[in-house]
Symmetry: C2
DNA sequence: ACGACTTTTCGAACATGTTCCGAAAGTAGC
DNA sequence: GCTACTTTCGGAACATGTTCGAAAAGTCGT
């Protein structure tokens, strides 16, 4: 009973995927999506709670299409491998990271990555509390890395000067001996991609805590 | 020469601080700030590049007022101590973290924390590249932790159900043995504050890499 | 004193996500 | 066929950050 719907959730998600593929995730806006469907913008809010909800649904689909490599048998390698896949998948679509930070888990189709990390930690002899703690720490690190890189990249694309440049310009060597020694190498050094090495070190450190 | 200004950058910052203290950082908006000054909203854009710029200026002042504890002599402890101060200061004002993720450094009045970390790493025998790498990794971890906690907290305050609840409700034990074992303890475990322990482990892991 | 120039101010406008509420369009009961 | 009810639709409106362009309000040169 009631007025028959002209728009379904599936149609909305489908149209959103079209926009994502065709115009990129920056162009995925509520009004544009509604226009793509030929409906009013506010209509969407009867099928989707809000934009975050929409993005989460899209992420589910996206995660389902993800290549799913066989994870190593060695627990520690498995943790690193699963986290790396997670990182690379999210780095390709930083917008969803903004949403996922409000929660802390990926959807069911991406749960195998979480299982890889938590399961790997358990296999390393971690208690459940420790395994979850390890996962969360890796999550924080991964999210931070992606957000910082994505936003710094966006700002650079806008031709905006970095704040740090003005800071480094007049460095007092007596008060900041370490930083002064780095000096102008800072931009080059911070541009390096060190996610994998950092991840390895983090996992090693967390698991070393375990055996104490 | 030119029309005499009725508003100075200092007045703007001052008024912003009043709003921050009185109404909280959620209420600090461009139009509200202009109203506080009795000035048109767009006028502010002649004294401040944009809101990010404004927040960075405010952060400088804020960082200057920060308590500055004596850092330990032991380099490793110094790294942890400096990072902890940085973390706690930012956690109290997550809005600026959103801005700082676009850059990677804090302003001059907060540079002693960066110096504490980088200098500590150098004193541990790290090469300059490694010291910067260590700092950045800690930065990622810290930023991620703060953003996730802040946003999850905000969402919880809005009475929004967590997405993960629906995911955990129907967990296939055969496909996700590790997660199924955690089960309903997940919410409790993820609510724990493990920043400090994670930081310690991360630093240990990064410095262990060094001696290899 | 008058025009040229420069700087500041600010209203109008745009795009964004989102809420409110009335209108539209069906079905069920009679 | 008419009324009541229910669900969906979507325009108006709001708050946000931000840009554009025109007007205002000085100073400088002559």
């Amino acid at each position: 009973m009631g007025r028959p719907p002209t728009t379904s959730r599936e149609q909305i998600l489908e149209a959103a995927r079209v926009i994502l593929d065709r115009d990129g995730w920056e162009k995925l806006t509520i009004r544009r999506l509604a226009a793509e469907l030929g409906v009013g913008a506010t209509t969407l809010y009867h099928h989707v709670r809000d934009k975050d909800d929409l993005l989460i649904q899209l992420l589910e689909h996206y995660a389902g299409r993800l290549p799913r490599p066989a994870l190593p048998d060695d627990p520690r390698d498995r943790i690193v491998a699963a986290a790396t896949v997670m990182h690379d998948a999210l780095a390709a679509w930083p917008q969803v990271v903004e949403v996922l930070t409000a929660d802390d888990l990926l959807g069911e189709p991406a749960l195998w990555m979480v299982e890889g990390i938590v399961g790997g930690a358990l296999d390393c002899g971690c208690a459940p509390e420790r395994a979850v703690e390890l996962y969360r720490n890796i999550w924080y690190y991964t999210v931070g890395e992606i957000l910082v890189r994505a936003r710094a990249g966006r700002r650079a694309a806008e031709g905006r000067p970095r704040y740090r440049d003005s800071v480094f310009a007049n460095l007092d060597e007596s008060r900041f001996p370490g930083l002064a020694g780095i000096g102008e190498r800072w931009p080059e050094l911070t541009a390096r991609d060190t996610y994998r090495a950092g991840l390895r070190a983090f996992v090693d450190g967390l698991l070393a805590q375990e055996s104490k």
